[in-house]
Structures are given as structure tokens and as C-alpha cells.
Symmetry: C2
Subunit: 419 residues, 2 copies
């Protein structure tokens, strides 16, 4: 036997699947390694703030869970997820007007995996889908990985524009290639910061039903409205035509990687098999931990605390943008983690990013949120993680960067010279 560690490297490139060839290592990864240094104010990541959780009480609660029920918590579970937790999930969804059975809930390794599995169920390579413009970067990664043909639908301050949706769906139908689904984040949009108005919700549902267009209603932030208002889910308007995706990451904590999909029977049946195939079962340790938290703690009171915290951070963001970046425009979120900032002509937020990081502030450029290269005149500010004083300082540094960027543009652009 002669194959030893000294043999030449083997190249597997030609063996990769077309999906693997499609997977791109993020160009900004190295940059974000720099941006994670403590002196950099990161307005980039969407990490929730967990410092306000009652960690000692939670720890004691987990101790009694594992001491009393550890052999269950550390065993394999069912592929659809722990039934008592699925019941608790239906209670949570009822806050938004959803009347669901636990039999239609599938628990997944985070709602990201629910999105991955649902995409697997509907997409053959090249299939067209409709998504908002802009859209959640993690969803675009999934759609890209499954080789979807992504068509963006315009939004305004009230969210997805019904007429644009109808036009896009009609155009694809006329081309003989109807879209497989619409992916939408109706509440406190990532990255847009806008919320779909209540008036538009039935319109969106009606348009999709008319086009036999499945809706993926992704709602990780729904409970985090700053004034406590709960927007009604679209799911009850057409339970047979909507898959609702939910997450514990923002209302509790992301570290357990537990999310869920509520889907019609026919889709749930496939989804459970897809889930079992991919991961056998969700983590029972995680499911029982979350189930225990929901049972033993005032989880909704905790959500109220989160809301107040994020409201303060959003207000600090709005004030700092008004003070430091008056030449920009931005959305005015009423909940969630994000605002979407538009820069005057000439600014490319991708080109500006390394210089922003030099100035010790990080963000995500708008192009990350489009499948078609648009968005270089936008950036996303996530105000969820840094405290208010850091947000103000971060936006001040962003304004310094913007002024430098304008100077740079003025020096290199003949048009500016002659103006």
C-alpha cells in the first residue's frame, strides 16, 4: 500500500455537483473577520442582544430538566419535532391570529433550515420564484444554492407593492414559466425595515391565490413591534396556500437553532420526510430546553423587555442618521432590527466598505440583498446588537467615511472638477 500523506494533492473540482460549483465563498468574509475586532462598531450582523435574559434562572431551569429528564432530552426524537413544543408553538402563533394544529407544524434546525427544506420541496434547477426587492441575504443564499431563478418584486414604505407582484406573476405565467412561490418577510423587514401594511395583506394573499402561487411567509421578528402591536399573519387568510416560517432566535435566543414551518397537510407530509432525511430529528436537548423556557418563564414579558431595548436602539439610530447623514434617506422601522439607508448618486457602498472598516465601523452593503447586482446605493444598518452610544458613534464614523468618499469622488471625477 503506497498512498501516503506525501502524495500529490488530489483535485476534486471536476467531481463537484453543479450545486457545489454554484456555492461561493463570501468575498466579504475576510473583511468581516477584521470587522469583528472589538474596536469596530458593527452595524452589520443581525445578532440579537441576549444580555437581558435571566441567565442564572435559565441555567437552573436547564439543570432540573437534564437531571430529571436527561435520558429523554439527550435521546433521538421524532422527525417532526417534540409534540409538546409543537403545541406551544401553535399557542405562540395564535397571538397573530393563526389557528393551527400541532400536526401541521414541523420543527427544524432553525427557520433557515425550514426555508432550505421548503425550497428543496419545490425547486428544480432554473425554476423561477418571486422575492422582495431587497430580500433577506440568507434566503437568497438558499435560493442560489438550489439554482432558483430569482425575480425581485418592488417594495415601498408599505412593503411589497401588490400591483408589482401581480405584474411579475402574470409575466412569468405568460412566458409559460409560472413562479413556484413568493418569499416575503412581512413584518419589520430584513433588510428593508418596512412593514407590509394591514390593508395590503389580503390583497397579496388574493393575488397569490389567483396565480396558484404559494406564499412563504417568513416571520422571525413579528413579536418585536416597538409599540407591542401584533400585525395579523397572512396565513389565516389562506391556510392551504401559505407556509408560515417561525423562529425562536429573536423572541428568545438563536443558540438552540430551533425554528418551525406551519404548512398544509400535503406539504407537511413531505417536509417531515425531508427533515428526517437531512437531520434524522431536531435536537431533543434544544427542543426540551425551549419548551421548558416557555413553560417556566414569563417569556412574553421578556419579549416586552427586548422590544423596549430595540425601540431605544432604533430611536438612537434615527436620531444619529438625522444628525450625521442628512444627505441620505432611510426607512423608519416600527419593529425589528434594521433600517435601510439610501445614499446620494455616486456612492458605491461596496467600494466604501473597506474604508468604513478602516474608520472602525461595519455594515452590509445593499448588493448582498439582491440577486441581480442592484443595491450598491444602499446599505443595511442593524441596530440590534450595539448599545445606543455605540450606534451613535458608529453612524458618526459612517458619516466621516461618507464625507471622505465624496472627496475621493470629487478628485477622480472630471465632471465634478468642471462643475
Amino acid at each position: 500500500m503506497t498512498v501516503a500523506s506525501g502524495t500529490p494533492r488530489v483535485d476534486w473540482t471536476d467531481s463537484f455537483s453543479s450545486r457545489a460549483k454554484n456555492l461561493q465563498v463570501s468575498e466579504t468574509r475576510a473583511l468581516f473577520a477584521v470587522a469583528s475586532r472589538p474596536e469596530v462598531v458593527s452595524l452589520a450582523g443581525g445578532m440579537p442582544n441576549l444580555k437581558d435574559l435571566p441567565l442564572h434562572q435559565i441555567a437552573r431551569s436547564f439543570e432540573s430538566l437534564f437531571a430529571g429528564d436527561g435520558a429523554t432530552a439527550m435521546q433521538y426524537g421524532g422527525g417532526q419535532g417534540f409534540e409538546p413544543l409543537r403545541e406551544q408553538i401553535t399557542d405562540i402563533m395564535s397571538l397573530e391570529g393563526i389557528n393551527a394544529s400541532a400536526a401541521n407544524v414541523t420543527i427544524t434546525a432553525g427557520s433557515q433550515h425550514a426555508l432550505d427544506l421548503v425550497t428543496q420541496l419545490f425547486i428544480d434547477p432554473g425554476d423561477p420564484i418571486l422575492v422582495e426587492a431587497p430580500s433577506y441575504v440568507g434566503a437568497l443564499s438558499v435560493f442560489h444554492s438550489y439554482q432558483c431563478e430569482v425575480h425581485h418584486v418592488l417594495m415601498d414604505d408599505e412593503g411589497l407593492i401588490p400591483e408589482s407582484l401581480d405584474e411579475a406573476a402574470t409575466a412569468l405565467e405568460k412566458a409559460g414559466r409560472p413562479a413556484k412561490f413568493l418569499y416575503t418577510v412581512p413584518n419589520f423587514h430584513n433588510p428593508g425595515g418596512m412593514t407590509l401594511s394591514e390593508a395590503r395583506r389580503p390583497e397579496i394573499v388574493e393575488i397569490c391565490a389567483r396565480h396558484h402561487l404559494l406564499i412563504l411567509e417568513d416571520n422571525p421578528y413579528g413579536l418585536l413591534g416597538f409599540d407591542g402591536h401584533l400585525y395579523p399573519a397572512m396565513q389565516p387568510l389562506n391556510p392551504d396556500g401559505i407556509i408560515y416560517l417561525g423562529s425562536f432566535s429573536k423572541m428568545f435566543a438563536p443558540g438552540f437553532r430551533i425554528g418551525w414551518a406551519l404548512a398544509p397537510d400535503q406539504i407537511t407530509e413531505k417536509l417531515v420526510v425531508a427533515n428526517e432525511t437531512a437531520i434524522l430529528s431536531p435536537s431533543m436537548a434544544a427542543e426540551l430546553s425551549i419548551s421548558t423556557y416557555l413553560r417556566d418563564f414569563d417569556w412574553y414579558g421578556q419579549v416586552d423587555k427586548f422590544r423596549v431595548m430595540y425601540r431605544g436602539r432604533a430611536r438612537a439610530t434615527m436620531e444619529a442618521l438625522t444628525k450625521y447623514l442628512p444627505e441620505c434617506t432611510w426607512t423608519h422601522p416600527v419593529g425589528g432590527f434594521y433600517t435601510w439607508v439610501h445614499f446620494p448618486p455616486g456612492i458605491n457602498t461596496n467600494e466604501m466598505l473597506p474604508r468604513a472598516v478602516e474608520n472602525l465601523v461595519a455594515y452590509v452593503s445593499g448588493t448582498a440583498f439582491y440577486a441581480d447586482g442592484r443595491g450598491a446605493d444602499y446599505l443595511r444598518i442593524a441596530y440590534c446588537y450595539p448599545p445606543e452610544e455605540e450606534i451613535r458613534e458608529g453612524i458618526r464614523r459612517l458619516a466621516v467615511t461618507y464625507e471622505q468618499e465624496k472627496d475621493l469622488l470629487a478628485r477622480v471625477s472630471p465632471a465634478s472638477k468642471t462643475a
Copy 2:
């Protein structure tokens, strides 16, 4: 707006992807719901026995983890997995002769998900692969889901037969459709119960290297040899040509859903992106829990206890088979969870299964472990979960069922009547 819950059901069948159409709900699921009743001795499932874990000490250890480091444990993590746990994993693998860097380890939501992601990286629909005959049912589910063309390679008591592997690889090459990889469980095979001999390991690696055939070396049971012997991994024989899959499910507990893949640089780079796309990151709560367990407990001493327990159960299984089913043959495992039982001609273990469940014993029929319908003359006995006295009683009930089955065959078969 008129789409109400009273509208007729919507049918999404035509919208499903070809992968989804391929996903089959297991026909035996309803049967196994019956088989999970407490009066049934289940020799079916591969659930490890966790009752011997020091649950109270583990619970206290998790309490200090969450009280002290909860904001980290409950936050998002990195897509490749928690670096200190990746270091600990390299220490574990070194027991089998693997000299790896944590940079080549990707932590996944169980080793099942590692297998799913690796398959995603290499398989386009219709691509041929080589697997053992028989093979792990969960791997076959993944391969079926990705629409692999599965080619079985024969095994004997020493595991995979090198000549059969060489022939199968050559035949596919000659047909212009080389196999994408070989999937193998070298140690304490599931379902076969046999172990690849040490003499054959370099042969297998050499054959695969010669055919430019990637090896997936799946090793969930490797530390569970009854006499404590550690078989050398194949990975060190060709680190650039082997992906090694590892799991905490059998050496600790499956409830955290944490496994890993050790892969060459080029494949790791893609695997991390695929992992991030599918689940964003593994569960930090699970990663830190396992990392804490490995650090604070005599985990290898615990593995020794598991070994002794499973050895006793395997011995009880062998004795009961000898006593009750002398007309059958079976494999003689030196570790792990399973033995593979062969029945005399005429017996179909699928047809026998409902009658076995009536007699209060359950198993998995051999056909589950083949992609091509073979295996109805085999069944798998998993002796890992029931205590020894239950195993004996279960095999006695299996023998009763077998005798009834022979009577039934004699009554319906003219050949038997005239004999």
C-alpha cells in the same frame, strides 16, 4: 378579499420538485407507531442506551455553563462550528490514528447532516455511487433524496470485498460514468454487524485512489469495540481522498445533534458554505454542552462502560439466536449495535413483520438496507436499547413468529404439500 378557510383545498402536487416527488413516506411508519408500545420488545431502533450517563453531574455542569457563559451559548455561532470543540474532535480522532487540523473539521447538525451536505457537494441527479450491500438506511435515504444511482458492492465477514469494489468501479468507468464516491461504514457495520479487516483497509484505499474515487468513511461506532480495540481509520492512508464522518450520538448522546466531517481543504471550503446556507451555524448551546462534557467528565471511561453494556447485550443476542433460531445464520459483531440475521429460503421478513409485531417483537426488514429490493431474507437486530432479558424474550418471540411463518408457508405452498 374572499380567500377564506372555507375555500376548496389547494393541490400543490404539480408544483413539487422532482426531489420532493422522490421522497416517500415510509410504509412502516404506522407499524412502528404500534411497535413503540411498551409491551413490544423493539429490536428495531438504533437508539443508544443513556441510562448509565451521570445525568445529575451533567445537569450541574450545564448549569454552570449557561449561568457563566449563557450569552455565548445561546448566540449564533460560526458556520464551521465552535473552534475549541473542533480541537477536541481532532483529539478524539487521534485515537484512531488520525492526525488532523481543526481547520479541516466542519461541525454539523448530526453526522446525518454531514452526509447530506457532502452528498449535495458531489451529486447531480443520476450520478452513480458505490455503497456496501447492505448499507445504512439513513444514508440510502439521503442518496435517494439526491437521486443518486446506487450500486451495491458485496461484503463478507471481513467487510467490503476489495475485488468486488474494484470490479464495480471499473465497470462504471468503462461505461463512461465513474462513481462519485464510495460510502462505507468500516467498523461494527450498520446493519451488517461485520468489521472491515485491518488487512483490507489499505487495499480499499489503494483501489479508490487508483479510480480517483472519493471515500466517505462513516464511523459512528468506532469507539464501541467490545474489547476496547480501536481499529485504525482509513483517513490517514489518503487524507486528500477521504472524508471522515464522526458522531457524538453513540459515544455520548444523540440528543444534541452534533456530528462532524473531516475533509481536505478544497472540500471543507465548500462544505462550510453549504452548512451556513442550510442552517447558518450549528447550535452553540449544543456545541458548548458537548465541549463542556468532554472537558469536565471522564468521557472515555464512560465509553468503556457503554462498551461493557453493549458487549453483554451482544452476547445475550448471540446466545438467544443459537438457542431459539438454529435454522438461521447471523453475523458475530465485535462492537457496535447490530447483528444481521439470514433466514432459510421462503421466509420474507417484510411479510413476517406485522405478524412479529402481533407477537410483540419488532425488527427492521433487510430490504430497508438495499436500494434495489434485495434483502427480504434478512433482518437486522439492534441489541443496543433493550436490557438482556428483554433481548432474550424478543428473540424467543421472533422464533415463535418464524415457526408460525413456516406453518403458514407449508399450508399455502403446493410444493410443501407434496413434499
